[in-house]
């Protein structure tokens, strides 16, 4: 069984790669390359999978998941400029794809502290940048 919990964070970013010229960056990233950045209300869906514990009737202890996502993701991402405020993005373009990978790494690195047993497992994360695009990653 899969349980999905939805979280939200507001953050700004700028898409700009040191590998390209100014002109190439503008052509590739368009408005997302504007020099001072811009923001989104990101929606993050975290899906955990496992058997239902016969006693508790739960797949995942939601307060533990909330604490993990809050400590590892929301605390650092919410109301921040991703390019400037997060170490991982000093040399990494904060596309939604890359943000997903960083979130996956952070959750995976601390998953077993929050959930020491065999289950639940982190199954997937989904990031919605705007209402018209979203990104999904099977972990």
């Amino acid at each position: 069984m899969r349980v999905t919990r939805r979280y939200r964070f507001a953050a700004s970013h700028r898409l700009h790669s040191a590998a390209f010229t100014e002109q190439q960056n503008r052509e590739l990233y368009g408005k997302c390359n504007n020099p001072y950045g811009h923001g989104h209300d990101y929606v993050l869906d975290v899906t955990a999978a496992g058997p239902v514990d016969p006693g508790s009737g739960q797949v995942v202890h939601i307060p533990s998941l909330d604490r993990l996502v809050s400590d590892q993701v929301l605390r650092d991402f919410d109301h921040r400029y991703i390019n400037a405020d997060l170490g991982e993005f000093q040399a990494l373009v904060p596309t939604s794809e890359n943000i997903m990978r960083v979130i996956e790494d952070r959750l995976t690195a601390h998953w077993s502290e929050a959930f020491p047993g065999e289950w639940p497992r982190l199954e997937s994360i989904r990031l919605r940048e705007t209402k018209r695009n979203f990104f999904e990653l099977k972990t």
């Binding site: 069984m1 899969r2 349980v3 999905t4 919990r5 939805r6 979280y7 899906t47 999978a49 496992g50 058997p51 239902v52 006693g55 508790s56 009737g57 739960q58 797949v59 202890h61 939601i62 307060p63 289950w119």
Partner: protein, 138 residues
């Protein structure tokens, strides 16, 4: 091909195990353990999988699916206190997981392994929490 029908019901529940202390239940279920209960507007999405009938062009008659959901889930659960009025939740905790599994059990009686088969039950307890169940253990 997958086809999905959505339905809603409003119900109250309390998540607590009689064998645990109030403090233990609160640790496990948070505010959902408050003894007098609380309610949600549940949203249910039932997905069937199959090939469209060559004559009707349909995987399954959505009107029939609506009636089936109505009879097996909505009528028994809507505007009810699940723990007191909807077995088996007099015996098991009506977490979203257990409610989704119970809905799967009720619906799966009406579908075989053939065409169409019951593919998935998604149950939203709130906008920010939902469960997917496809009959598998995990």
């Amino acid at each position: 091909m997958l086809i999905t029908r959505r339905a809603e019901f409003s119900a109250s529940h309390v998540c607590a195990q009689p064998s645990l202390t109030p403090e233990q239940n609160r640790g496990l279920y948070g505010a959902a353990a408050n003894p007098a209960g609380h309610g949600h507007n549940y949203i249910l999405e039932v997905t069937l999988e199959g090939d469209p009938d060559p004559v009707t062009g349909m995987v399954f008659d959505l009107k029939k699916l609506k009636e089936l959901i109505q009879q097996t889930v909505i009528e028994p659960m809507d505007h009810r206190f699940l723990n007191y009025e909807v077995p088996p939740f007099n015996k098991i905790v009506p977490t979203t997981e257990n409610v989704a599994a119970e809905i799967w059990t009720r619906l799966s009686r009406h579908f075989g392994p053939g065409n169409p088969r019951l593919n998935n039950v998604r149950l939203y307890e709130t906008e920010d929490l939902y469960v997917d169940y496809a009959g598998d253990r995990q």
